[in-house]
Symmetry: none
Subunit: 134 residues, 4 copies
DNA sequence: GTGGTCTAGACCACG
DNA sequence: GTGGTCTAGACCACC
């Protein structure tokens, strides 16, 4: 399956779908000109309301990453992969920067912050996804 | 005065106040037994709705970090510094972990993520990037 | 062949076909008693779904502009040219009026609207704007 | 009242709201920093579902013409008037051009098209709004 | 009070 | 079958 949704997350479901689609486009999992899963199908897969999927798709249209093919479905635009690769880096960098700035302003010494970063970095990298060898 | 509020931030104002007060308590900027600014004063200073300050204070009371002194104001509890120092580390760590996990699932290679982390860490610590003078 | 279809246009494809056929009948490009291209042929030519062509033809039948000739195809009716000539004027007038009314309600001054109309009229008629050579 | 909605129009209600707000911003009827009517209020006025209004507002946010002031309402951005003035001209021009190009390709002679344009232009301008003298 | 999110379900146009 | 629009109503966070 393409995506995983966490309903308890503080981030809206439609944004989770949106971002995961962008990441998938950046990674080449979703190719230009191909059709994304239909609103109804994806809604069934993710066990969410079709309107929620439609909203994510609508925003992706607004971003120029999807376009409608009438009566057929939604198609990934040619520009999508490039744009998503760029945005992916930006998203990741921005979120990391925000967390680091907050840490910096917490009163913790830079060395303490750095230590935490290294610890968490190892945890995250050492936590293999989908049963990879550790 | 103490805090800086970003109204356009995605984080609620009352949480910004709350967290910055905790950081100040952890850092010793706010000492036990001393009084925090009145709701109205702080609201005027920060140019926010008094209800917003009141909510932050209410939660700090609920956490046992502030206590009412009848007819006088809100006082920082003796336990506040210790508790805030502990919580500070937890907050910083949690936010960093979340950002790193998101980076991990973005499709970027771990080496790329690490590179971004190092770059941003230097920026935040004020160390010069690419040979800039400090 | 006859028509040009813009799939990304906001107007439905079947209506584009329909209207262009009417215009062709009005102009005499399509003559009474002659046969229109088969659904499949036209669909291939225009690279659209045969259902789409079929729908346009169906509506033209409903309008009395096409009639079936059993085992042979669809034939242009004797009344078609007259009817299309009349309708052509109505279509053009209606669309122009709608655009002008919208312009009227945009808050632009009538003189500004008129200026835009003149400019676009010249462009469309191929007349040179601002002293360009024709 | 600010706007008038035609439910029978072929254009979606949320787009009618959207465009009329843009026109109002362009005309200065809606000023920067002021709040637009609340979703619920406008929905009541127009007798449409609040979600429909919310959708129009959401798209205006996406265009950078509105911004949320949390717990307070939606505010017109400083850039809105300029952007809307520009867009107003573009919208009006585009729609007129489309209608004129269609007229041009209808098979009508340029002189006939021009005649229709002049007639409709007079009608539209001669139709005074809100009881102006003719 | 405000906007934001989500669900449920209906209807329509298009292919 | 597809997406698009609209309605109705619920719940939430924030101010």
């Amino acid at each position: 399956m393409l995506f995983s949704i966490q309903a308890n997350n503080d981030r809206p479901i439609y944004l989770q779908i949106l971002q995961q689609m962008k990441f998938a486009m950046a990674a080449g999992v979703l190719q230009p000109d191909s059709l994304v899963p239909s609103v109804r199908d994806l809604a069934r897969q993710l066990v969410v309301n079709p309107n929620t999927v439609a909203r994510a798709y609508r925003e992706l249209q607004g971003d120029g990453l999807l376009q409608t093919v009438r009566g057929t479905g939604l198609q990934i635009t040619p520009e999508a992969p490039d744009r998503c690769r760029q945005e992916r880096g930006r998203i990741v960098r921005d979120r990391l920067r925000a967390a680091l700035e907050e840490a910096r302003h917490s009163g913790l010494a830079p060395s303490e912050v750095e230590q935490i970063v290294q610890q968490e970095l190892q945890k995250v990298n050492g936590k293999p996804a989908r049963g990879e060898a550790p």
